[in-house]
């Protein structure tokens, strides 16, 4: 213990005398750690943000979509990819017979132009059944949402998300009762939904959708097909069973590669895994600056070894072993590097503190451990060459050195 204090004390004394040099040497590591930690904390924040987006969706949903787009939580665009098949009313009826499903909802979404008076906007419509509102917990803010009878009667009515309603009518309340034109087909706006938030990375933007009864929606798709089926399972514990049941039913009509049944969490993990990869690449790029910082430390440690050859000789003369000299210079480079790491971490913490007002970036314990671990490791890796050089000096040459 005494031993380490001695070694560190003489290094610190050295740093105290060369404050500017010490600071400049640590600067590389400081910048490296700062940028890596910032990227990591932003990555963590992004993950959290995406999770928050998905929390706004109702849980216990299964989606039946065309193509085999997920395999083990990541995207896989196979030969029978997106859009080769579409579903129809028959599929709906068959899935409806599966137990533990509260709702089975056909959906057709399309990007369309919608007009109200002179205003014209590009947005998505959601051609679906009345159950969609219950399944996704969508309620009316003004007016009302459409009912089962509206679907059956093919009523040309529409429920607007608050954002699109406001864009079209200036005030979302004013939309109720007015006509809108979807691709030149006239629909009557009967209600505006409450805001669900969302619309960020990966999350659907419910507030900008226009909801219409799917049977009325057939005018936009004469084949009477759907691009997705949403099934709501009555309880979380039945999700996996329901997923298997749906797959079984669908397999009687389609081949395995033609469709996928996706859990909400599959989608979430696919999106987060993509962002994690991007983040990892960025962190790897930032880590290059750590290597540059390490080379700086190596340079300075080589310089101090040369400056202190005589001292090394003295220490050897009074009984220091090679390993003692090695540890002494390693300790110096680790202290330098760790110092840079700690200051970098502190600066990152300050930046994150301010960023948190607009974005949920955060620094967790593993990130702190990473910063401290990586900077010590750099001290060791880049310090070991000069330290080895110091240790291998012959005692007599060192003490005779002037």
């Amino acid at each position: 213990m005494n031993y380490i204090i001695y070694l560190i004390k003489s290094s610190l004394e050295d740093f105290r005398r060369n404050k500017v040099r010490t600071f400049l040497t640590s600067l590389g590591i400081l910048i490296g750690v700062l940028s890596v930690i910032l990227l990591v904390s932003f990555g963590l924040g992004l993950k959290k943000y995406i999770n928050q987006q998905f929390e706004s969706l109702a849980p216990n949903l299964l989606r039946v979509v065309p193509g085999k787009i997920f395999a083990g939580g990541s995207f896989r665009a196979g030969p029978g990819s997106l859009g080769t098949i579409r579903f129809d009313e028959k599929d709906i009826q068959r899935i409806k017979r599966i137990k533990n499903l509260d709702y089975t909802i056909p959906t057709l979404t399309k990007t369309i132009t919608v007009r109200a008076g002179r205003n014209s906007e590009l947005t998505d419509f959601f051609s679906s059944s009345e159950d969609l509102f219950s399944a996704l917990n969508i309620e009316a803010e003004y007016g009302e949402i459409f009912a089962k009878a509206d679907v059956a009667k093919k009523n040309k009515i529409a429920v607007l998300g608050p954002k699109i309603a406001e864009k079209l009518f200036g005030d979302s309340r004013a939309a109720v009762g007015n006509n809108i034109k979807i691709e030149n087909q006239s629909f009557k706006a009967i209600g505006v939904t409450k805001s669900k938030g969302g619309g960020g990375f990966g999350g659907p933007d419910f507030d900008s959708y226009i909801y219409i009864p799917y049977k009325a929606g057939y005018i936009f798709d004469p084949d009477k097909k759907f691009i997705a089926i949403i099934a709501k399972v009555n309880s979380e514990k039945n999700i996996d069973q329901a997923k298997r049941d749906i797959e079984e039913v669908m397999l009687t009509r389609y081949s395995e590669d033609d469709f996928s049944v996706i859990k909400q969490t599959d989608l979430l993990s696919a999106i987060t895994s993509i962002f994690s990869i991007i983040n990892l690449v960025l962190v790897a790029i930032a880590a290059i600056s750590l290597i540059v910082g390490g080379i700086g430390i190596m340079n300075i440690t080589y310089a101090t070894v040369t400056e202190r050859i005589k001292e090394i000789g003295i220490r050897r003369a009074i009984g220091a072993r090679k390993s003692d000299i090695l540890i002494q210079f390693l300790a110096e480079s680790v202290i330098l590097s760790l110092f840079g790491g700690i200051v970098g971490l502190a600066l990152a913490w300050i930046v994150v503190f301010f960023v948190q007002r607009v974005f949920p970036a955060y620094i967790n314990i593993p990130t702190i451990a990473l910063a401290l671990g990586v900077s010590s490791a750099i001290g060791v890796i880049f310090g070991v060459f000069p330290a080895k050089k110091a240790a291998d000096l012959s005692p007599i040459d060192a003490i005779r050195y002037e």
Partner: protein, 223 residues
């Protein structure tokens, strides 16, 4: 205690090999007080470094308590320097990053031995005995040369070595301070039985030792 047999030392300078020490054989016995004399460049320091296990001879054997040291590993040699030998140099050779007290304690830090006594207490006691206790927290370059050399002697003594090698210990001191240092070393030999080898080219110092060896051009000569 230390026995040199047919020691030669060569240096390679460019593509020439120069022999600095020629076939030197000598014995230093326990509790002896020996002076090594010779002109500058005659090889005194080289001989002293070899006797002190800092340097290795090109030829010949060294016995420490009748054991051949040529087979010792680098770590074992370090340990021998640490525990058996104390060095006092002309340029004091203290470590300027460390205080006086820390310099004195430093050999003990490198020791793997367990001490029965407090190293710190012993260091303070040595400093007190050498009249430099009030300088214990100074850095070496803030005290006088005579004081620095006394610190160096205290450092050489902290491990209770069998032998102290002093290489022109007064070379950088005025005559008054030089005399004090020599008296101190004589006392150590007389009162505490520490074996002392002093390298010097000053006659009056050599006269204080009990046996003198003369080196001329790398050879021991009888006088």
């Amino acid at each position: 205690m230390i026995e040199l047999k047919n020691i030669c030392k060569d240096y390679v300078v460019g593509n020439e090999t120069i022999r600095i020490l020629h076939d030197i054989s000598l014995t230093i016995k326990d509790k002896e007080f020996v002076g090594i004399m010779g002109s500058s460049g005659s090889g005194k320091s080289t001989l002293m470094h070899i006797m002190g296990f800092l340097d290795t001879p090109t030829k010949g054997t060294i016995l420490l308590d009748s054991k051949d040291v040529s087979r010792l590993s680098d770590d074992e040699l370090s340990q021998v320097r640490n525990e058996y030998v104390g060095f006092v140099f002309q340029q004091f050779n203290l470590i300027n990053n460390l205080t006086v007290l820390e310099n004195v304690m430093l050999p003990a830090i490198y020791s793997r031995k367990r001490f029965k006594y407090s190293i710190r207490k012993k260091a303070l006691e040595l400093l007190r005995r050498f009249n430099i206790l009030e300088r214990k927290d100074y850095l070496p370059n803030k005290i006088s040369g005579g004081q620095q050399q006394r610190v160096a002697i205290a450092r050489a003594l902290i491990m209770n070595p069998k032998i102290i090698f002093a290489d022109e210990p007064t070379g950088n001191l005025d005559s008054k301070n030089g005399e004090e240092i020599i008296n101190l070393l004589s006392e150590l030999n007389r009162d505490f039985g520490v074996t002392i080898v002093i390298v010097t080219h000053e006659k009056y110092i050599a006269n204080k030792t009990k046996r003198q060896l003369f080196i001329k051009d790398g050879t021991l000569v009888k006088k």
